[in-house]
Symmetry: C2
Subunit: 338 residues, 2 copies
DNA sequence: CTGAACGCTACAAAGGTTTGCAGAACTCGA
DNA sequence: TCGAGTTCTGCAAACCTTTGTAGCGTTCAG
């Protein structure tokens, strides 16, 4: 381990540690020749700033934290990757914690980060975290926070979310525009804001197009492949000719069922998923989906956090647009001729 | 911000900070009643240990770093996720850095981490990092390091890798066992150890089965979908009836070509990929592949790092087994009847 | 030539915790 | 009751950097 300190540099140069500190930190009140000498000596001795001493004295830290349910989901890892690049650029290290979708781990992650005296935190809360009181409490203690994707509305600090309503609205409208008339919906738990907003978008599109809303063909908690398969069967039985799905995996399950039954896609049945998972473009028929732009979310959230830490804002609510990616599974106009 | 210190607790209780420190850190030389009183007061006052002061004084840190090329690749994010869980359990926070596959970023990541005085580092080096001299230099300065997946052989410290040779050997043998006789290979750049080992495994299987090695049907740098497509055309032209691919994306490209030409899979042509990407089980025909067990790698690497930091070892080289996942694309025995 | 202004550096304190050492309080056997 | 041994706590230094203040030497206007 290196143990070179600014004191060593100071002694070697016959000056004091304070001058060395100022020289290295870019303080303008230091002669250029001195600064150069200090830099040279620091390099020669292999000096490495002790961030802990620095943080202790200055009370500031060059670290921020990110809390996500799981790192190994493509959506979150893309967000983290984008955010990390920006934060790194701004001189911040990033500590990453997983809540594993449960509140207990989220609370302990929060504790870890506040103990580390991070300058700010980006958080997308666990589904197991119902009230978010621990997050609110941390905010009230003055910790700079940006919520992203999964957000407790009305909290202080900043937030970055998708326009889930518009995403679902556009997807549904796209199905309507392709001539489907009885469009069912797969949703996630409607207690979660995000899923509720998507459901509202779906309803709004139906209403606007003058189509009836039939609760019989709305399937809550259809977010995995298996439930998608099972509910697709019910949807077909109940006369649907299309499905809007709040997730890609349940849409995939629906495709499994439809292909098995020999129902032609998109001629006889249309389907649009949500999230634009990597596999959607690789399967056959390729699945239409709503791109969530995680990279954009990550960037915006990181920049929002930087603004928050610089006191350039006291809180802002940002929205990232979704983008409808039309593929074979719903593009009747193009693929019907096949 | 809370600013409660152990001094505040000490004053409130009429004892000294040293006792408070000992009480909180679990030092056995402190009366149980005192410890309880300290804990209660700490909770009451909302005390939070200042890790920077602690690290500064003790010279130890409860942080480790992980450097990967990119966080947003499923393989790496799975490794990180698994490692993070174990390290968190052991009381370590994890700082994550991306090298973006270039040496410069890797060096600066290394600097960030050593400046933060992390207790140890897990690293999978960038392709742009040819010699790894910066890594070696850090190791020689006494920093505990575990290399994983992409490893510079012969370095001190520990390493965790896949048995790439065996993975490729098994995959090729599986093709041979299914009656394919002219098996081509897609490889990555052979300057990278991992790809070289896979190529060696492929060759060993051919040799053992008494099949000739024909360099005409070995395609280096076939790792993306496009090159897979192009080289599959050449492979077919040169009489191949099967392909072993060092990656799934190039195998996917090959499937694109084969399907387009109406070549039946697996009856007329067999193919096995590598990495077992999520899409492999979702496409049609489902792609056989070699599972790399990233979760296992992450766990092993984390545990190896903990051992290294506890001086329970001075370095060990661990190997994680791969697992051949047989799917439609190569399972002629089962699917030929279709 | 004097005094003010300026550029630069030294001094010293502070930030919160840990830890070796010394010493106080207590226990217990003789 | 005394003394030896234990158990617990206090004292003070140390970890390394940052930063407010003071002071030095120089420059320059008047």
């Amino acid at each position: 381990m290196t143990n070179v300190t600014i004191i060593d540099i100071a002694e070697a140069l016959g000056i004091t540690p304070s001058t060395v500190s100022r020289a290295l930190s870019g303080n303008p009140y230091v002669k250029e020749s001195t600064r150069e000498a200090v830099r040279a000596k620091a390099r020669e001795l292999g000096y490495e700033r002790n961030v802990h001493a620095s943080n202790l004295r200055s009370g500031k830290t060059h670290t921020v934290g990110i809390i996500v349910p799981r790192i190994d989901r493509q959506f979150f890892s893309s967000i983290i990757s984008a955010a990390e690049s920006i934060l790194d650029e701004a001189g911040f290290s990033v500590i990453i914690c997983q809540s594993h979708e449960n509140e207990e781990d989220e609370i302990s992650a929060l504790k870890t980060l506040t103990e580390s005296r991070v300058g700010g935190i980006m958080v997308s809360h666990a589904t197991g975290s119902r009230s978010g009181s621990h997050i609110l409490e941390a905010m009230n203690r003055g910790i700079k926070m940006v919520q992203f994707d999964r957000v407790f509305p009305g909290f202080p600090g900043s937030s970055v979310t998708n326009d889930d309503f518009a995403g679902a609205y556009n997807a549904t409208m796209h199905l309507i525009g392709n001539g489907y008339t009885r469009i069912g919906a797969f949703t996630g738990p409607l207690g979660t804001n995000m899923f509720l907003n998507r459901y509202e978008g779906y309803k709004a599109a139906l209403t606007e197009a003058g189509l009836p809303l039939d609760e019989d063909i709305v399937f809550e908690n259809s977010i995995v492949r298996e439930t998608g398969y099972a509910n697709a069967a019910k949807a077909v039985e109940r006369g649907c000719d299309a499905l809007y799905s709040s997730g890609d995996y349940s849409a995939l399950g629906a495709l499994d069922f439809l292909k098995e039954k020999g129902i032609r896609i998109p001629q006889d049945f249309g389907i649009v998923g949500t999230a634009n998972e990597a596999f959607t473009s690789l399967i056959s028929p390729a699945l239409s989906s709503t791109e969530q732009n995680p990279v954009e979310i990550g960037k915006k959230a990181a920049l929002a956090l930087l603004r928050l830490m610089n006191n350039e804002t006291s809180g802002e609510n940002l929205v990232v647009d979704t983008e409808l990616i039309i593929r074979e599974s719903s593009d009747r106009k193009h693929f019907a001729k096949k």
